[in-house]
Each structure stands twice: as structure tokens, then as C-alpha cells.
Amino acid sequence: MSSILIIFGVLAAITIATAFLTIYSRNPIHSAIYLVICFFSIAGHYLLLNAQFLAIVHIIVYSGAIMILFLFTIMLMNLNKENEVHKPRITRLGAIVSFCLISLVLIAIFVNSKPITDGSYDVLGEDYQSIKVLGKVLLNEYMVPFEFASILLLVAMIGTVLLSKKEKSEK
């Protein structure tokens, strides 16, 4: 068992455990903190796959922007108390049964599918995921979707401002 496999196992255990604790914990603040740890471990997976730029962007966007937004919303709504009522028991049972079924089906699909390789993978030997190469790909082949992404972010910003603006009294 190589050391990289051990690192992968530890990271995967942290990811799955914190994702489950996010769902399970009663207090929304605790959920947000567990989700931050989950995002950091996923950034660790990206580093393990040698996608450095993606790991940095993931930490900045998810752990930085999105989680701060979540925490601010939770504190704005004053939700940091544990008074959530449960769903009815039949609904929770249905959720657990459907969770078991969907994991069974998906895992069975991938266990029984024909293996693509015999344990060895291609090594092209050329650089394909450094920041330099990614920038060239992003601004040459994917120029138009890149610009559309900026338009999408602008529209989202305008929509958020309009949604959270105070409405004038209708008279």
C-alpha cells in the first residue's frame, strides 16, 4: 500500500464524514463549519490530482465566498438555535430507503461495468494542467463561454440586488 493511497483514504474519509455531519447536525452554524472542512478536503483531492489552479480557485470561491454568504445568511435569519422540527416519520423513512436504493444502484452499476483499463493509465508526458496551459485553453477555445460566464455573474448580481431591495409600499 503506497503512501499516496493512504493520503487518498484519509482525505476521502474526512470528506465523507464531514459531508454526512453537515446533513446530520442540528445547528445550522455547525453544518456550515463542517461544510467548510468538506470543501477543504475536496481541495486536497484536487491537489492530489495535481490540479493546483483548480484547488486554489476552489478554496477561494467555495470556502471563501460561498461559505461566508451562508454564514451571513444564517446569522441574518437568527437561525443558530436547534429548534427545527422533524419531518414526519414516514417521510424520513422514505428518505433513508431512497438513499440506500440510489447508492446501491449507482455502486452496482460501477462495480459491474466492464473495466476500462487493466490497472495502468496513459501517460502522455506533456503538460496539460498547469496555469499556463489552462489559461491558453480558456482564452482560445473557450473564449465565448468565458464571456458568457461573466455576463451570467453580472445578471446574478443585478438579480440579487433587485431581490433584496426593499419594496416600496403600493399606494
Partner: protein, 106 residues
């Protein structure tokens, strides 16, 4: 330059992503708090992103990672708009229990 997947194997990443995605689905079905439902959706998006990066390494191709950038941009926009909607729901109804959100007209 050696491929990291020679030591881990693509199937481990597939199983990790499948389990993360199923945990996200479970959270959407199980909880009543709308913010936790949002967090579950983020977990599902991250599971798919992780699989994209794993297959990008598998094919030794940058296109998968470029797709992850776009999916991150869409996720950021989605979270901003969704949380604004949640805040205005909270202002109108006083709670964000999804069982109270049965009516289209508030």
C-alpha cells in the same frame, strides 16, 4: 511525469463521488431547513466536479478542468440568487421551513 491514477485508480474516485452525491440527495430529502437543502445541493455539485477533475487526469486533457471552472461560476451565481430568495421568504413568512412553502402566491 507519472500519472497519479496509477497509484490510486479511477474507480476509487468514482466510488467517492457516488457516495458524496448520494449524501447530497439524502440531505435534500431528509431535512426541512432550506439552508441545509442548499448545502446538500452544493455537496452534489462538488461530487460531480471531483469526478470531472479525476477524468481530466485520466484522459490527460485540460477540457475537464475548464468545465469545472464554468460549473463553479454557475454555482456561485446560483447560491447568491438562492440565498437572496431565502432572505425575502424569511422576511415574508418568518421561517424557512420548506413545509410552509406550499403556495405559489404568498
Amino acid at each position: 511525469m507519472n500519472n497519479i491514477l496509477n497509484q490510486i485508480g479511477i474507480e476509487n474516485y468514482i466510488f467517492l463521488s457516488v457516495i458524496l452525491f448520494c449524501i447530497g440527495v439524502f440531505g435534500v430529502l431528509y431535512r426541512r431547513n432550506a439552508i441545509i437543502v442548499f448545502m446538500s445541493i452544493e455537496i452534489m455539485l462538488n461530487a460531480v466536479n471531483l469526478l470531472f477533475v479525476a477524468f481530466s487526469t485520466y484522459h490527460q486533457d485540460a477540457q475537464g478542468q475548464v468545465f469545472v471552472f464554468f460549473s463553479m461560476a454557475v454555482a456561485a451565481a446560483e447560491v447568491a440568487v438562492g440565498l437572496a430568495i431565502l432572505v425575502s421568504i424569511f422576511k415574508n413568512l418568518g421561517s424557512i421551513d420548506i413545509n410552509n412553502l406550499k403556495n405559489l402566491k404568498g
